[in-house]
């Protein structure tokens, strides 16, 4: 029995939900969280998106917009994310992880999120009182 915790982009929530249903697991808990990841040390990874966002910012004399965009892309600021927790049988973990990765991968190189797999000691279904693997 494993717990899969996936931190994903806010706008990928429905894509992730759909992917989970297709992977055969309909049950999950989702949280709105904030977070940051590793700092992007290679500027070429974010150069294209930076130019794109700067164009959208329009006239910027104070340099404030550029600072905000840089902080956002480099990862020094804390941004809203969605956290999914899914309880799964051991043999289903790999399938679910691959489904989440496929649904959340973008062409932005960085910032697509993380997936953690934690062992779970026991689970109980409240309705019936079943424990262990059958409760998942």
């Amino acid at each position: 029995m494993k717990e899969i915790m996936a931190v994903v982009r806010m706008n990928k929530t429905s894509a992730t939900k759909k992917a989970l249903v297709e992977a055969g697991v309909a049950g999950f808990t989702a949280f709105k969280v904030e977070g940051r990841g590793k700092i992007v040390t290679n500027p070429s990874l974010i150069l294209e998106r930076k130019n794109e966002l700067l164009l959208m910012a329009g006239e910027d004399q104070t340099g404030e917009a550029e600072k905000l965009i840089t902080d956002f892309l480099v990862g020094t600021s804390i941004c809203p994310q969605r956290l999914f927790t899914i309880l799964a049988h051991d043999d289903e973990v790999d399938k679910i992880v691959q489904a989440i990765i496929a649904a959340n991968k973008t062409c932005n190189n960085v910032g697509d999120g993380k997936i953690f797999i934690l062992p779970i000691a026991d689970a109980v279904r409240v309705r019936t009182g079943e424990t262990g693997e059958t409760a998942v």
Binding site: G35, R36, G75, I78, N108, G113, K114, F116, I117
Partner: protein, 108 residues
């Protein structure tokens, strides 16, 4: 690999996060939570408050970084030198595997 979950005072969030970042632990997930601890909440003029707002920090780290991480959180999440009720708790659990979605690589 370990998952550290630290429940701390909301007013200490910024300080703890910036100190962790300075020590090289930049990645974190932040969740606003409510809860109570061993003191069964706080009682102010006869009213018991048992849903006290706290912040939960979630961080996945390598096993060898555990002591550093705990030391930093203990140092910066305390409200005073000797600590006080309500400063929070740290939970540590094992992580079997971590994946980075952008690359699909199973690594931290």
């Amino acid at each position: 690999m370990l998952m550290v979950r630290a429940i701390i005072r909301p007013e200490k969030k910024e300080e703890v996060l910036s100190e962790l970042s300075r020590a090289g632990f930049h990645a974190a997930t932040v969740i606003d939570v409510v809860g109570r601890g061993k003191q069964k909440g706080i009682k102010i003029s006869g009213i018991i408050y048992d849903e006290i707002p706290k912040v939960m920090l979630m961080m996945a780290i390598r096993d060898e970084d555990k002591d550093d991480m705990i030391r930093l959180i203990l140092k910066y999440a305390r409200s005073s030198e000797q600590g006080a009720y309500g400063d929070g708790k740290i939970f540590i659990s094992p992580v079997d595997q971590a994946y980075t979605i952008s690359s699909g690589i199973p690594s931290l």
